[in-house]
């Protein structure tokens, strides 16, 4: 008897068996697919967490948690710990977004991790640009998402950017210290390539002044970022002034109410001021002693943006005209802001 004879003889039984086995196969496949989809989703969530928060940091580069959270060597190390996941390839664009080609249990997929590192969102509100006593420029950011870098742009980031753009960068090190020697034009170009722009002065003000409510709150702005009180906290943890250790590896002094650092003290920082273009340099920094009048929010001097020669600076306070600094400036820091 051959197979055809057997089937003819038991055709109804064969048909039933065939249908049953097909049902089992594709119901089984449904469950398998559901499980697989669920596990894949879980794996993707884990990767998202590692990218946003930094993993255990299984590398031997001695860097802070903040630094590790944004740099992919550490991500790769952590990814390798995830079972069944293999990295087939990766690319980084100018904006620091990382694209990974991955395989998980033979399924290939790609992830694009957008560089949202170290940014704080400016809450919606009405703000007043300039220091206390100056309230000529009121503005509001309803319906706008404005993100601000919490830290200065580091030499590390600039060196990577120069490499990606084939710009000679011999002197720069892969250091987490702030980048202090770019021209204003290069700073703006860097921030543009990060899909943002150089931090604007009124945005820095909005992020720094302690929020106040009630009448006159837009005129009676706070002096310092930590509270409404007129009390300068003279310790290096609150802000970095002359005599403190320099800003190293994303340290967290000078913090403001919305979580950005060095709103007071730290490095001399340039901003873009659309309301008062000359008022573009925050002097409160490690170069001034603790009792300098420049350690107050909103005060600005002027920098041409072109170089560090003495005649590129005008160190008279541009808003209130009350003070003039007498320091030699050896470097200017910066950070970026973004609308997404």
């Amino acid at each position: 008897m051959n197979i055809f004879t057997i089937i003819s003889k038991y055709k109804y039984l064969a048909l039933t068996l065939a249908i049953l086995s097909l049902l089992i196969v594709f119901i089984g496949r449904d469950f398998q697919t559901d499980d697989k989809n669920f596990e894949l989703a879980e794996t993707i969530e884990k990767i998202d967490q590692l990218w946003s928060n930094g993993g255990d940091g299984c590398s031997d580069i001695p860097a802070s948690v903040d630094f590790k959270a944004c740099h992919q060597q550490h991500l790769f190390c952590d990814l390798q710990k995830l079972t069944d996941l293999s990295i087939l390839g990766y690319q980084e664009n100018l904006a620091g977004d990382l694209t990974l080609q991955l395989a998980w249990e033979r399924q290939k997929f790609s992830l694009k991790l957008l560089n949202r590192c170290h940014r704080a969102l400016l809450p919606s509100g009405v703000y007043s640009s300039g220091p206390r006593g100056y309230a000529e420029e009121i503005w509001s950011n309803e319906n706008q998402e404005i993100w601000i870098d919490r830290f200065y742009v580091s030499q590390y980031k600039i060196k990577k950017w120069f490499q990606a753009k084939n710009i000679p960068h011999g002197k720069l090190a892969f250091s987490p210290r702030p980048a202090l020697h770019l021209s204003l034009q290069k700073m703006q170009e860097f921030c543009r390539d990060q899909k943002g722009q150089l931090l604007q002065s009124q945005i820095l003000d909005a992020a720094s002044f302690y929020p106040a409510e009630g009448e006159n709150s837009l005129q009676l702005k706070s002096f310092y970022p930590w509270s409404k009180a007129r009390e300068l906290k003279k310790d290096c943890e609150h802000f970095i002034y002359q005599g403190c250790d320099p800003v190293a590896d994303l340290n967290r002094s000078g913090v403001s109410w919305m979580g950005i650092f060095h709103t007071l003290g730290g490095e001399i920082e340039v901003v873009d001021n659309p309301f008062q273009p000359r008022a573009n340099l925050k002097l409160s920094s490690i170069f001034l002693p603790v009792d300098s009048p420049w350690h107050q929010l909103g005060l600005r001097a002027h920098w041409s943006g072109r170089g560090l020669g003495a005649n590129e600076f005008d160190l008279r306070e541009q808003y209130l005209g009350r003070w003039r600094a007498d320091i030699k400036i050896s470097g200017v820091a910066f950070r970026c802001m973004y609308y997404y």
Partner: protein, 249 residues
């Protein structure tokens, strides 16, 4: 007899194909749009025998360009059961151009098709099977591509645009701006601003004006006037309104 066995085998594979295909492909989709003419929560039974667009699901291609998946349905009628089919669009085309065209991915023998909204996505109900489709629009810092094909990299200067009634005229494509985007005022809408791909900052000559804000100014009149109080320019330039847009000159 053998034909019957073969038919069962064939239809089971065809069944597995479309639904498995979309279930995998649409994980982490960028956006989901239900045909506004459909009523979520109701089984789609009419008009009978007509081809309808059910969903437009935008996903990311391998290169993180955009791919539009268009799900169509031939509604069941007295003599024919329903047919679900899928077309994918890789360039700047509409789903509507693909309707009624034969598709590689399809599933027939459908008797009940329905859609439900739920938080985070859409639930597709196909006879006894339910497929949840979740969009990741809430976690915009992570993009997923589960396909091998490349998509379309659109560039639109005014990458997001709203009209006077705050309706979206241009869907948000600002993620494709090579140097980011910033908000600008191009209509009377007060609860949303348009966005333009950035090469310069706002407030420059012949560019868009910077936004001072309605809340800050408490301005209630027509926005589209010279020296409009809700905007400002840099360095001595003035705000003008040209073609409904606030610019600086």
């Amino acid at each position: 007899m053998y034909v019957l066995l073969l038919a069962i085998l064939f239809s089971s594979f065809a069944h597995a194909n479309l639904l498995e295909h979309i279930e995998q492909r649409w994980q982490g989709s960028r956006s989901i749009e239900i045909n506004p003419r459909l009523t979520p929560g109701e089984t789609i039974k009419k008009p009978a025998a007509v081809h309808l667009k059910i969903l437009e699901v935008t996903i990311y291609g391998k290169d993180f360009g955009l791919i539009k998946d268009c799900l169509f349905y031939r509604v069941p009628s007295k003599d024919k059961s329903g047919l679900l089919y899928l077309h994918s669009v890789y360039k700047q085309e509409d789903c509507d151009s693909q309707i009624t065209l034969p598709a590689k991915m399809q599933k027939n023998e459908i008797y009940n098709l329905g859609i439900e909204n739920f938080s985070g996505g859409v639930l597709l109900q196909i006879d006894t099977k339910e497929i949840p489709i979740i969009s990741r629009s809430k976690t915009p810092s992570l993009l997923i591509s589960l396909v091998e094909e490349s998509g379309h990299q659109p560039y639109v200067k005014l990458c997001y645009q709203v009209d006077d009634q705050c309706r979206v005229v241009q869907k948000d494509l600002c993620e494709f701006c090579p140097q980011g985007a910033y908000p600008v005022i191009t209509s009377a809408c007060r609860s949303a601003y348009s966005k333009v791909c950035a090469r310069e900052t706002c407030g420059e000559k012949n560019g868009f004006a910077c936004i001072r804000g309605y809340q800050a100014t408490q301005y209630r009149e027509n926005y589209c006037v010279s020296d409009s109080p809700v905007a400002y320019c840099k360095g001595g330039l003035r705000v003008f309104c040209e073609n409904d847009k606030l610019i600086c000159k």
